[in-house]
Amino acid sequence: MAVTITVNGQDHTLDLDPRVTLLDALRDHLHLTGSKKGCDHGQCGACTVLLNGRRVNSCLCLAVMHDGDEVTTIEGLAEGGPSPLQEAFVAHDGMQCGYCTPGQICSATAMLDEVAAGWPSHVSASLDCPVELTHDELAERMSGNLCRCSCYPGINAAITEVARRGKTEATE
């Protein structure tokens, strides 16, 4: 089946078996291997990409269902130089083996937007207060991305630093 997907700003028309997941379309057909496959079952978050700006597990998406959609991968976030989160993950050692890292960074990118938009989480005190990115809020919102190397302290430090910087920039 033919499908056209915009990936990192570029249109790609692919002729795909309908069983091909969005993750495999990226990795095996477009050779964008930055998105990782940890479980193929929506259990680990390694395959997280931004789909029309929101984070999704791309292993749970069939590529042919995304005709006309816009996808941003970890490679896309680095276009024009590494993003602040990508740099902060290196600075705070938010990685060891690096296999979960692209998923963590894509997830965190969207998560910061969700916080800015005031979306509540399971640990938020109420449904309509502005969200403050405390340790509990951050940990809750990032718990869909497993890291077996267990770099959570570094991951959280990196995200917190970027969130704080973003906030100061917004109020300046």
Binding site: R19, P82, Q86, Q96, C97, Y99, E140, C147, R148, C151
Partner: protein, 728 residues
């Protein structure tokens, strides 16, 4: 030229501290960090050679003789190129450092989940579909799967006894005698095992997710029937291993056989559910621990006897009592390992084999002894630090347990803790604190590395892997430090068997073993530079690309004047290990909340202080310690592979059902690394740190649960059902 060194005695010269560049030991970023953060780092499954086919493994659904009645029909399915049932396919991954093929064959399934066929097709989707359609008929054999239901093997070499422990137990003022259990556990590295194999008619090239390439090459060659010169393995990036990628795995051998048969590249990626079955798990353990002490809590006798399991023909037995040989004193000692031969998936090394479960259980027993004696748990450990190895009577190479205990207690705010349990309550939650000591043996193994030095900088080369441990970072620092080069001018190439054979990653040996080989290679280059300047190596100062000797200073590039110098280092273990006992030490402190109504346990905070000789990179070392401590949280609270009672199959064989700690399970962690030099650890005086953080960590958590709510748990993990039962 090569410098060879055998570690036979203490290295008292300590040349490392004379170096001038000032990069070694620093908190500095991984050179491979940005490639990983931007998705440019490529792992095993990510090569895409022209014409690559896709293979999917089919598993045995039962134990017994295997047949595939519809094999021909599957072979005729769209896109299918082969259904491989080759007798050379392997039963399970090889054990670490096996250096030869593991057990092979597809006609008899020894455990549920054993790969018995590889279906190869043009696309992944076709291969997966066809593999699902392949019928597997099992003629079931009734084989034991319960470790408690068989008569275990009692290998003589794994038993040791000194003095009369029974008498010590009878005469002691205080005794503890209890059984502790730990569960089957899985490494669950985030990158599933994967291989891309290419065969050009003479040479097999395999990209694999592997930890120890120099062994893996021989294991693969032996499995498929090639000589090792015709096998090359590449693994520049490995998505975690934790022991599960030590030996050649089923995907590698199957991909290689298929590529050789079809003459086209073949990729095989294990499904996450295969990962839980086909690669070695950590054995469950049942540990009887006996402590005999005087009225002050000073040990006079110690018993640690463990039952572990494995498949027939596997050489590995979880070395549960490894640290009990030296951790605590006591003239009467009985230690031993028994092995139940059962048909659960194979057991093997998982992060800190031995101590991860053995120290963890012993540290709960020590907490029980502290309570029996009415002595603060930190003080009890301080009273029980042996003067020398209590069994072998040799000195310790260095011993920093006391320093770690005192430092950790101070940072955690331990003093003033009320000894009695159930002292603090917040709503439904009991709050408590606990601690444990950490012990892990230290080893150096054979390793080689080469450095090529040219005008623009240096290139370090070895087949060593970086599985997240920081090999790229620390080898860069070692070479830059000795050669006086900025980090940016020091490149590191790893994970290719065409390069000199390093130690491989496993058993925390990488930094000290391959790191020492890099150190020796750099020292050889310093000698060559000194020779060019007509001075002694010891007179040479190398810094920022310049060489100073006496009152002359010259650019390194001018000294080389276009030439490339090569230095090789080769380290071998000597008899240092016989002359001293060498280990790493630490202390864990934990605060938990236990829900009185649900039995749920929540971590509040954790503190770890560790000592492992010279720390080569504080940032990557700290991350390793975080990792170990968080694995301790998993072992304490959630991780358990459940085996079906009828056929031993792993019931919870994916990441939704096997619960590794997620971000929200992890409280703020504080890690402190002590400054130490261990002269018996070679010229760098550094020891391994990748596994120390897990040793004992879960014990601190169970001790904290006891302090919080009074429930003494001896079975890991402390799931809510167990906590609730113990609360009543």
């Amino acid at each position: 030229m090569t410098i060879e060194m055998k570690i036979d005695g203490p290295e008292t010269v300590n040349r490392t501290d004379d170096m001038a560049q000032g990069v070694l030991g620093r908190d500095s970023a991984r050179p491979d960090g940005l490639a990983k953060a931007t998705g440019r780092a490529t792992y095993a499954a990510e090569a895409h050679p022209e014409g690559m086919l896709h293979g999917v493994l089919r598993r045995a659904p039962g134990i017994g003789a295997v047949r595939c009645p519809n094999l021909e029909a599957v072979r005729a399915m769209p896109g299918v190129r082969a259904v491989l049932r080759d007798a050379r396919m392997v039963r399970n991954a090889a054990q670490g450092m096996a250096d030869e093929a593991p057990v092979q064959g597809v006609d008899e399934a020894a455990y549920v989940g054993q790969p018995i066929a590889l279906v190869v097709a043009e696309t992944f989707e076709q291969a997966r579909h066809a593999a699902q359609r392949l019928e597997v008929a099992i003629e079931r054999t009734d084989l034991p799967i319960d470790p408690d239901a068989v008569e275990p093997e009692v290998p003589e070499a794994k038993q040791s006894s000194q003095g009369d422990l029974d008498a010590a137990m009878r005469n002691a003022a205080l005794t503890i005698d209890a059984d502790y259990t730990t569960s089957s556990m899985n490494s669950a590295a985030m990158e599933p095992h994967a291989a891309v194999a290419e065969w050009d008619g003479t040479t097999l090239t395999l990209r694999g997710a592997l930890q120890m390439l120099r062994f893996n090459r021989n294991e693969l060659a032996d499995s498929v029937g090639l000589s090792a010169e015709h096998v090359r393995i590449l693994a520049p990036y490995v998505g975690g291993g934790f022991g599960s990628k030590l030996g050649i795995s089923a995907d590698c051998v199957a991909a290689a056989l298929a590529a050789m048969e079809l003459g086209q590249p073949v990729r095989v990626v294990q499904h996450r559910r295969n990962v839980f079955e086909v690669n070695t798990r950590r054995s469950e353990t049942r540990q009887r621990i006996r402590l005999a002490a005087d009225a002050d809590g000073r040990l006079i006798g110690l018993g640690h006897e463990a039952l572990v399991s494995n498949l027939p023909e596997e050489t590995f037995a979880e070395p549960v009592v490894q640290a009990s040989h030296f951790a605590y004193p006591g003239a009467a000692r009985t230690l031993g390992i028994r092995i139940a031969r059962i048909h659960r998936p194979a057991a093997g090394s998982v992060r800190a084999p031995g101590e991860a479960v053995g120290v963890t259980a012993s540290e709960v027993a020590m907490d029980e002894l502290a309570y029996a004696a009415g002595v603060d748990p930190v003080e009890l450990r301080l009273r029980n630090i042996p003067e020398e190895d209590p069994e072998r009577g040799v000195p310790f190479s260095s011993h920093r347990l006391k320093a770690a205990l005192l430092d950790g207690a101070e940072r955690f705010g331990w003093s003033g803790r009320p000894m009695a349990p159930r002292q603090r309550r917040e709503g439904e939650w009991w709050i408590g604190t606990g601690m444990a000591a950490a012990f892990r043996v230290n080893m150096v193994v054979e390793a080689q590395a080469r450095i090529r030095l040219h005008g623009a900088g240096a290139v370090v080369e070895t087949d060593m892997t970086d599985i997240g441990t920081g090999s790229y970072a620390i080898f860069q620092q070692v070479a830059a430090e000795l050669l006086g080069l900025p980090l940016a001018q020091t490149e590191v190439r790893l994970g290719d068997t065409a390069l000199p054979p390093g130690s491989g990653s496993g058993g925390s040996v990488g930094a000290a073993s391959t790191g020492t080989a890099v150190w020796l290679a750099a020292m050889e280059l310093r000698r060559q530079i000194a020779a060019r300047l007509g001075c002694d190596e010891a007179e040479l100062t190398l810094k920022d690309g310049t060489a100073t000797a006496g009152n002359t200073r010259q650019d390194l590039a001018d000294i080389l004047s276009g030439a490339e110098l090569t230095g090789t280092g080769h380290v071998k273990p000597g008899d240092a290990a016989e002359k001293v006992r060498q280990a790493t030490y630490g202390a864990h402190f934990a605060e938990v909340a236990v829900n009185d109504v649900t039995g749920e346990v929540r971590m509040r905070r954790m503190q770890g202080t560790f000592s492992a000789g010279r720390i080569l990179n504080r940032r990557t070392a700290r991350s390793q310690c975080h990792g170990g401590m968080i694995w301790g949280i998993g072992m304490a609270l959630t991780e358990t592979m459940t085996h079906d009672r009828r056929d031993g199959h792993v019931v919870n064989r994916d990441l939704a059902e096997y619960h590794v700690p997620v971000n929200a399970d992890v409280p703020p962690l504080d890690v402190h690394l002590l400054e130490e030099r261990d002269p018996w650890a070679g010229p760098m005086q550094a020891k391994g740190i990748g596994e120390l953080g897990i040793c004992g960590a879960a014990g601190a958590i169970l001790n904290a649960i006891h302090h919080a709510c009074g429930a003494r748990l001896r079975d890991f993990p402390a799931t809510p059902d167990r906590v609730l039962a113990a609360l009543e």
